[in-house]
């Protein structure tokens, strides 16, 4: 053993320095802005690791894809075509409705809504911190993403971007304990807030008075308050209401609309342009 009596820095001193540096990091991470260049470059540093860890999954899914039979592909193609036909029918209506909506808004004197910029991102399946709900996507600062952008899938709201590297970024899911989404009930426009509980298939409504008009099956959509999520995207459906008069608030639970445990493709939305409030 070379260093049994060797002269090096003592372990205690090393530990002291390491603990001190870690505490500085923890405090710095908690109380500073997220979108600095230091952080982006730190997140970029581990991007190759993430891509490498995702590789086996890609290989397997590529293998599975190339082993699909012709019949499977044909039937899938057929189903997709039918879906597209139905959706394009709705789209024709939609264009008419947006025109009408713009006209009505003009009559009311409020500003017209602008279309959001958006980008499609794919999830890299890598392991994340077990204490939080998050996923990694294959887009980053290179594609113009920044912290706090809303992320949705085909069904509804998924979460928002938290840590952005140059080629990867992290999406904090709406079921995470630190995430809250401002929503309103689609049926009666009552505003409330949905909080994550750390469960992948359940969220809760925070501070709901007993008198609030909420029913099982109510659809919650984003209210647009807070500025992170654009208005009108479905978030969750109310599944359980517990009006215990003994507790200060009613306990209302809901199930996320987006299938958070099997998402694969996501859409990242840009924040809406600052709306110009017309004074007339």
């Amino acid at each position: 053993m070379k260093l049994m009596f060797g002269r090096t820095i003592s372990l205690q001193l090393r530990l002291f320095v390491a603990v001190l540096l870690s505490i500085v990091l923890i405090v710095g991470d908690k109380y500073t802005e997220g979108s600095t260049t230091v952080r982006t470059s730190l997140n970029t540093l581990v991007s190759p690791l993430i891509y490498l860890a995702n590789l086996p999954y890609e290989v397997f899914s590529f293998g599975a894809k190339s082993l699909q039979t012709r019949e499977q592909l044909l039937s899938e193609n057929e189903a997709l075509k039918q879906k597209q036909l139905l959706q394009s029918e709705q789209l024709q209506q939609y264009q008419f409705l947006t025109k009408e909506n713009q006209k009505l808004r003009a009559l009311l004197g409020s500003s017209a809504k602008q279309a959001n910029r958006k980008i499609i991102a794919q999830i890299l399946s890598v392991h994340s911190n077990p204490y939080s709900h998050q996923v990694v996507i294959n887009r980053g600062a290179i594609d113009g993403l920044s912290e706090g952008q809303a992320v949705i899938d085909e069904m509804g709201v998924v979460g928002q971007l938290t840590k952005v590297g140059s080629t990867t970024s992290r999406v904090l899911l709406m079921t995470d304990t630190t995430h809250a989404t401002p929503v309103r009930i689609l049926r009666n426009e009552v505003r409330t807030v949905v909080e994550g509980m750390g469960k992948i298939n359940q969220v809760k409504l925070s501070h709901v008075p007993h008198s609030l008009d909420v029913r099982i099956g109510d659809v919650l959509v984003t209210s647009g308050l807070g500025g992170t999520f654009p208005e009108g995207y479905p978030v969750a459906i109310v599944t359980e209401i517990n009006r215990d008069e003994g507790s200060p608030f009613a306990q209302v639970y809901a199930e996320p609309v987006a299938q958070l445990d099997r998402i694969r493709l996501l859409v990242v939305l840009w924040r809406q342009q600052q709306e110009i409030i017309s004074s007339e």
């Binding site: 090393r14 990091l25 690791l49 890598v126 911190n129 840590k163």
Partner: protein
Amino acid sequence: MNSRHSFLIGVSIFFALIMSLMPLPFSFEPFRPDWVLLVLMYWSLAVPHRLNIGTAWVVGLLIDLASGSPLGVNSLTFSICIFVTASNFQKIRNFSIWQQAILVGLFLMFYHLMQFWLNHFLMDVYFNPQYLWPVVTGMLSWPWIFLLLRKYRRHFRIR
């Protein structure tokens, strides 16, 4: 010569990092052992003059970045664990593999409780006994990691 040893140790840590980030089927996810910490523990017992608290801190930071936990949590817990093993390496080395496995289990338990406590403090997570599964799986996989890395170390004569 020195750099060759460090490089080979680095390679094993790199593989452990990839293993700990690789996707697993959803039902196996809670049982994933902490590969990186186990590998670091092995090297800190085998060659404590090469791998020490500094390395553990840097690797912990990499884990934090790659797994999206609050920065500094893993570096802190890794450093403390490696401090314990590195300061007692002469004692721990003399134990049999099974005794070592039990000790490693204790260290892992300590690591996970610290992890939980820090995360609770930073993000208000609540305790779930499921969080302690890696302690058991880590303890059971220690003998295999030990034997594998010992073979690796002897084959490449890492000292």
